[in-house]
Amino acid sequence: MSEGFSITKTYLKFLEEDSEMTMPIAAIEALVTLLRIKNPGTAAEVINSIKSAVDELVKTIPNSVSLRAGCDIFMRFVLRNLHLYGDWESCKKHLIENGQLFVSRAKSSREKIAEIGIDFITDDDIILVHGFSRAVYSLLSHAANNLIRFRCVITETRPSNQGEQLYKLLAEKGIPVTLVVDGAVGSIIDKVDKVFVGAEGVAESGGIINVIGTYPVGVLAHNARKPFYVVTESHKFVRMFPLSSDDLPMENKFLDFTRRPSDSEIKVSGPTIDYTSQEYITALITDLGVLTPSAVSEELIKMWYD
């Protein structure tokens, strides 16, 4: 059924065009485009085309949990409309016409998060940040705009070096920042007041999936009795329940001991995302409010278990 329409390409195009767009939104947009182009008539066709598109996307884009989140939401929405109300036509029309609306809503959700989360930051705080999340950044910059004087400690977040990105942005804003290696978190955790991380996906248990290194930071924060906050938009809630980092879908195998003679330099291998279970998380700051991990799981349960 492919007439030169590649869901993956569309998806990547969306991401390229708009740097502010997050992956789930891009996925939804791509799927909407798919519907527009394909224009299936019956309910069965709809479901099938969406399913196959989602599969393709997931296969081609590696390590994308939030992508799945977006696809899951879209799928769920469509299914629900079909099952409960049978009114697919108007729904489809609405989706096709209002593609932009979703994007703007998603962006505004980050502002909402910043509004809600600003109460967590007080003067004289030392905040530890791991990984680069736009939601976290918008929260911190909003706080800085409101003249709250805090300091940031950013971890390098190797191997992706996301920390440097965030460092530059925060330094531009005039927030006092310092960059530390990932391993230094254990020594400095006693000196920080709270920890903020973003999330690529929020699992059904209330735990989060995020860039590698989040889990150790969570454990250290828990040990030092420091609050560990997750800042994320609500459309990142994904229908997964991993028991540990092993359960995550990943490209790189854990502990790959094979050595290829073609490798000239020593390459770092291992997982790129990890899972932090809900007992290490104090609260999730989302555009729907401040939620405890159990509240998240309740909502996810309600959404999926119908």
């Binding site: 939401i73 409309n81 009114d87 729904c91 109460d119 459309h235 609260a283 729907l288 509240a295 909502e299």
Partner: protein, 400 residues
């Protein structure tokens, strides 16, 4: 001078010829500011009295106006004494009741007008649209139209009906508050067995006192109660508490605050009364040493259970604990000080207990784990009422 009331509310009342109402509100606010009313129970009942008069005297044409006025009133009261959480809770409960009624009405109208169920489907799919608004992302913009249509068409329910509903709601609340003990005791009794050693660090909680006495008299459990003194703020009430228990033939032992860790290994359960319970499962107690006692209990894996009436449950999240914890006068701690060598003295009067230190909350509607308290909160309050100073979307859409 409009130091006390919100200017618009005051004007509104003045315009409506409700000077009396202003006076009442002002008196209450003054009392709150000067801490002349103490204790969640007393504050709750007084607030309800005030609300009764307010709803009967206030003038409004549409129920949304009433809601706005109530919100303004709630904001004033909250600002008067931010740590009197029950005040805000009561107002939010009432607002919740009113909004529920409104929604029901809206549904009926929608059904009558034959609008597509689809429009309202997403809204009513969950009890309290907390996260079901996950679908908000994909929702149709027709949503807003529904509301405006609702407002434009005259309500089926007249103003009087809403007033009745409001007053009925208040009456129900008063009933509930005065009768929390029964519900609590029924559940809590089962958690205590015979010959147990209990520890109570919150002696000024009437709920705990009644519960212990009831356990002894009705259920005939024999147990021993350790009461900590809570020096310097609560010692008198601690001694009174212990005396009352002893008079009811319960074996009571008064211990100084420093002995808690020493005796914790022998304690079977810790029972605390609370002043307010937050949506994350943490709570504020009105005696000062309570959080240390709960930490000790954690170390020994001793169960801690907190008793609280539903009216103490607050939809707020404790962002900044330091703001909600009160400090008292340092003369309580250090009565005489050499003026040449001055010291700083710290005197905390309340304590915040984080949710990980509490095992279970016993309320009059049942026992709940701290991680589930948020659900009870959202059952009784509306998300939109949490921040009383924000404009509600209804107001926004009215103006739009």
């Amino acid at each position: 001078m409009s130091q006390f009331s919100n200017p618009s509310l005051r004007e509104l009342n003045n315009a409506n010829g409700n000077n009396e109402l202003n006076v009442i509100i002002d008196t209450f606010i003054a009392k709150l500011k000067r801490k002349q009313i103490v204790g969640s129970y007393a504050i709750a009942l007084e607030t309800l009295q005030l609300l009764k008069r307010f709803t009967s005297a206030a003038r409004w044409t549409h129920v949304t106006e009433l809601i706005t006025q109530l919100r303004a009133l709630g904001l004033q009261l909250e600002r008067a004494q931010p740590t009197a959480f029950t005040c805000g809770n009561i107002i939010r409960r009432l607002l919740g009741v009113l909004r529920d009624e409104m929604e029901e009405e809206a549904q009926e109208i929608a059904n009558e007008n034959g609008m597509n169920d689809n429009n309202n489907g997403n809204n009513s799919s969950t009890s309290e649209p907390l996260i079901s608004s996950m679908f908000n992302l994909l929702q149709k913009p027709e949503e807003v139209q529904t509301v405006t249509k609702l407002l434009s068409s005259r309500n089926k329910k007249t103003k009087t009906d809403f007033r009745q509903i409001a007053i009925q709601g208040i009456k129900d609340l008063i009933d509930e508050i005065t009768n929390i003990d029964d519900g609590i005791q029924q559940i809590a009794i089962d958690l205590i067995h015979d010959h147990e050693l209990l520890l109570t660090p919150t002696p000024e909680s009437k709920t705990v006192l009644k519960f212990l006495i009831r356990a002894r008299e009705r259920a005939h459990r024999t147990f021993t109660v350790l009461v900590t003194e809570g020096f310097p703020n609560n010692t008198d009430s601690a001694h009174e508490f212990a005396k009352k228990l002893a008079q009811h033939d319960i074996e009571t032992i008064i211990i100084p605050d420093s002995a808690v860790f020493a005796l914790m290994s022998r304690v079977g359960k810790v029972i605390i009364g609370t002043k307010a319970v937050f949506v994350n499962g943490g709570s504020i107690a009105s005696s000062s040493g309570v959080s240390t006692v709960c930490e000790c209990a954690r170390e020994f894996k001793t169960p801690v259970f907190a008793v609280a009436g539903l009216y103490k449950l607050s939809p707020l999240y404790p962002f900044n604990i330091e703001k909600s914890v009160e400090f008292g006068g340092s003369h309580e701690v250090l009565p005489r000080m050499d003026p040449d060598y001055r010291l700083d003295a710290v005197n905390k009067t309340t304590a915040y207990v984080p949710p990980e230190n509490i095992d279970i909350y016993i309320t009059n509607i049942g026992g709940f784990a701290p991680s589930f308290i948020y659900r009870i909160a959202w059952d009784n309050y509306k998300q939109v009422d949490v921040h009383l100073d924000n404009k509600s979307p209804l107001e926004k859409s009215v103006k739009a």
